[in-house]
């Protein structure tokens, strides 16, 4: 056991972060490398100031190490698909951000941008099978794209069209594709933990060896559902993986002001559940950590927790502080612009791109072609959305139950004027 501070760890050990863990009774069982991190964690800091998050910057490149090697050994085709989805996710959200900024487009509703966190969704999903489950959050566009979500349906849903992922009922915060194992985004902080644990139990009953992943934020880790879901998953050795995306922010609340421990992964250490903290902007580390958790899950050994350190580039919701054609949101009072700039400089996609090139896993022109294809897919999805019809007003009474409609009690005598 060695004791070093977090930043030094991520700088020098790099992808070893994928298996870095604080003292955990169970770490030994997972075969992971055990590293004790010193008091540099962000939690429990009453004198917190926004610039604090600068202390936790990852290195600018995906560092050499075990995780990088493991990831590089993944079939090239899979790596390219992963890259493509990361780019699609980035371009789709960036385009949507520009559309939201342009008032004349008439977009409305919730819109939580995932940009900056793409290595997490994609590193995790790269380690899953197609029939594994994911459960997402309010900030989940990127999770959907990573799991193969359909951009046409997603765009149409943002436009609240009948052709949308949820036929216009859900919007940005509730998109779903059940047949791809996407059990949906969710607007309630903490809900994903229970749904994923329930889905994991279902896999156990059906003996399918499927795994269920709950994505959630640093804020969600304080939900009463979190510890309960992990504890019950440990109790019943469920094939569940809890991915905590620690972007240091909960709306405008800095993570350090509400977290009593140095790392969020500490919460579950006492349960004997492998709980690691990794560099969430490093797709190789995310893949490797998830791969290990998946193996454990499929072997019937129970759940794992992966805390992924990252940062969101935009505001909590909407487009305050953002500009069309430019990355990041600035001038927000709960964080420093310097932090945003530094984290943009650790762009997980740029890091992945460099990795692919340096390891000669792809050529520049190959990647450029993927980039261009992604842009075309994004653009055509928006055309699809625009062309699609709005839901009919009275369809609001449908889909409450499997069959039929509920009564239109907004009208006197529960009948619309025309029929009254």
């Amino acid at each position: 056991m060695s004791t070093i501070d977090r930043r030094t760890l991520l700088r020098t050990l790099g992808s070893a972060g994928a298996t870095a863990a604080f003292v955990s009774p169970s770490t030994a069982q997972t075969g992971g490398k055990t590293i004790t991190l010193a008091a540099a964690g962000p939690g429990a800091n009453p004198r917190y100031v926004p610039a604090d998050d600068l202390k936790f910057l990852p290195p600018q490149k995906i560092p050499a190490g075990r995780a990088a090697d493991v990831f590089a050994a993944v079939p090239r085709q899979k790596l390219l698909v992963t890259y493509e989805r990361m780019v699609k996710s980035r371009k789709w959200e960036t385009r949507m951000k520009d559309l939201f900024l342009d008032r004349s487009q008439g977009l409305y509703g919730a819109f939580h941008i995932y940009v900056g966190q793409e290595a997490i969704a994609n590193g995790v999903v790269a380690a899953l099978n197609d029939d594994d489950y994911i459960v997402s959050t309010h900030r989940g566009h990127g999770h959907l794209v990573a799991k193969g979500g359909d951009l046409d349906k997603m765009s149409a849903e943002i436009f609240f069209k009948e052709t949308g992922a949820n036929h216009g009922y859900g919007g940005s915060m509730h998109m779903v594709e059940m047949d791809k194992g996407i059990l949906g985004m969710n607007g309630i902080v903490g809900a994903s933990f229970y749904i994923a644990a329930g889905a994991a139990y279902s896999a156990l009953v059906r003996k399918t060896k499927q795994v269920a992943v709950a994505f959630a934020g640093d804020g969600a880790a304080n939900s009463v559902y979190y510890f309960s879901a992990v504890r019950n998953s440990a109790m019943y050795k469920l094939p569940a993986i809890f991915v905590i995306e620690n972007n240091f922010q909960q709306q405008g609340v800095p993570m350090a002001t509400v977290t009593p421990t140095r790392q969020i992964s500490d919460y579950t250490k006492g349960l004997g559940v492998p709980s690691v903290t990794v560099d969430g902007n490093d797709v190789a580390s995310m893949y490797t950590a998830t791969h290990q958790a998946v193996e454990r899950a499929r072997a019937g050994e129970g759940p794992s927790v992966i805390e992924a350190i990252t940062f969101r580039w935009y505001d909590h919701a909407g487009v305050a502080g953002a500009k069309a054609g430019a990355d990041g949101a600035f001038g927000l009072e709960y964080r420093s612009d310097e932090a945003v700039r530094q984290w943009i400089a650790r762009d997980p996609i740029a890091r992945f791109r460099t990795f692919l090139l340096e390891r000669k896993l792809a050529s520049d022109s190959e990647l450029a072609a993927i980039d261009a294809g992604a842009q075309r897919a994004v653009d055509s999805s928006i055309e699809f959305a625009r062309r699609s019809p709005d839901p009919r007003p009275e369809d609001g009474l449908k889909n409450v139950y499997a069959q039929g409609s509920v009564a239109p009690t907004q009208f006197f005598g529960a009948m619309a004027p025309e029929t009254n």
């Binding site: 949906g184 309630i188 229970y194 994991a200 279902s202």
Partner: protein, 328 residues
């Protein structure tokens, strides 16, 4: 067809459905699913289906919101689920039910299926337990939630039939399970599986002077009151809605139209108990009808027998109310 306890009847229904559907699962806490017939027949679902399909011989931890979360994740991925919530915890899963179980179908535009049953205990207005262990009427809250169905059987026959109907229903159903109903007189219960249709009220007794409506625990007191109401020369049409949501408004309204008078007996609290909704619906559907309700007062049930038995809307009070309503 045989005399069965309420507990046996419901578990028999669950077991029959679990035999048919190999992915149907059942979780519970300390209420291990074992029931015996006087004849000696034993139903032991923990033994028959084992884990993980049941919570096993010992049951699950005291963490009831989790049961609802589990059921949701299960149901969405091909394992219909029954989650039994002890009565003390009737409201623990409320948030998860409101925002997930009840809403997911609508929020996903119809794509999320949640075939699950929340089997939620009910305490009853009993002496000696006090406050937290004397509640009745949480169905009022669950009925408020769009996307849920709610049933509240008042005997073993309906309980088995409604449980089976709830399991087979593609939507989430709250099944209220009141101690006083379990302990009451039971009709014969068929051995085979059958459904009592969700959404259909039972006209328990035809009559012409007034319509008496009661469900679940209040039916115990109404049963005692009925002969005395008849003795008082009043012909009461007695209806047990059985399903709280969707409420069988047609059957109720037809009766109130005929009798012109409605008396709702509710063991729930007065303010915004489900009885309020029944009265409101009838007042609107049958203008001019005389509507009334007696309910448990807006107070937690105190422990002392002297207090809680005076507060219970019991048979003498029901008879008195019927007579007064006739004089209105």
């Amino acid at each position: 067809m045989a005399k069965k306890t309420y507990a046996f009847a419901v578990l028999e229904g669950v077991a029959q459905e679990m035999r048919k559907n190999p992915t149907l699962c059942f979780c519970y806490q300390f209420e291990t699913p074992v029931a015996r017939l006087p004849g000696g027949e034993i139903l032991d679902l923990a033994k028959e289906f084992g884990t993980p399909r049941t919570s096993g011989r010992w049951g699950w931890p005291i963490d009831e919101a989790w049961y609802a979360g589990w059921a949701a994740g299960m149901a969405m991925t091909g394992c219909p689920a029954i989650a039994r919530i002890p009565y003390q915890a009737a409201i623990f899963p409320a948030e998860f039910v409101l925002h997930q179980i009840a809403k997911l179908r609508s929020m996903t535009g119809g794509q999320a299926n949640l075939p699950l049953v929340l089997w939620i205990g009910g305490a009853g207005r009993r002496m000696g337990m006090a406050g937290q262990h004397t509640d009745v009427g949480e169905e009022a809250f669950y009925a408020y939630l769009p996307g849920l169905k709610v049933v509240a059987p008042s005997n073993a026959y309906d309980a088995k039939g409604l449980m089976i109907a709830a399991i087979r229903d593609p939507d989430p159903v709250v099944f209220r399970d009141y101690a006083e109903v379990r302990a009451g007189q039971q009709p014969d219960v068929p051995d085979e599986a059958y459904e009592v249709p969700i959404g259909k009220a039972a006209v328990r007794q035809p009559g012409k002077d007034l319509t008496l409506v009661a469900w679940a625990p209040a039916t115990v007191d109404v049963a005692q009151a009925l002969p005395r109401i008849a003795q008082a020369g009043i012909s009461a049409e007695y209806i047990d809605p059985r399903t709280i949501k969707p409420l069988d408004v047609e059957t109720l309204a037809a009766s109130v139209k005929k009798t012109g008078r409605l008396l709702v007996v509710d063991h729930g609290n007065h303010t915004n108990g489900f009885g309020s909704h029944v009265v409101a619906e009838m007042a609107q559907k049958v203008p001019g009808a005389k509507v009334a309700r007696i309910a448990f007062p807006d107070a937690p049930g105190p422990g002392a027998k002297s207090m809680i038995s005076w507060m219970r809307p019991d048979a003498p009070k029901i008879v008195d109310a019927a007579q007064k309503l006739m004089r209105l």
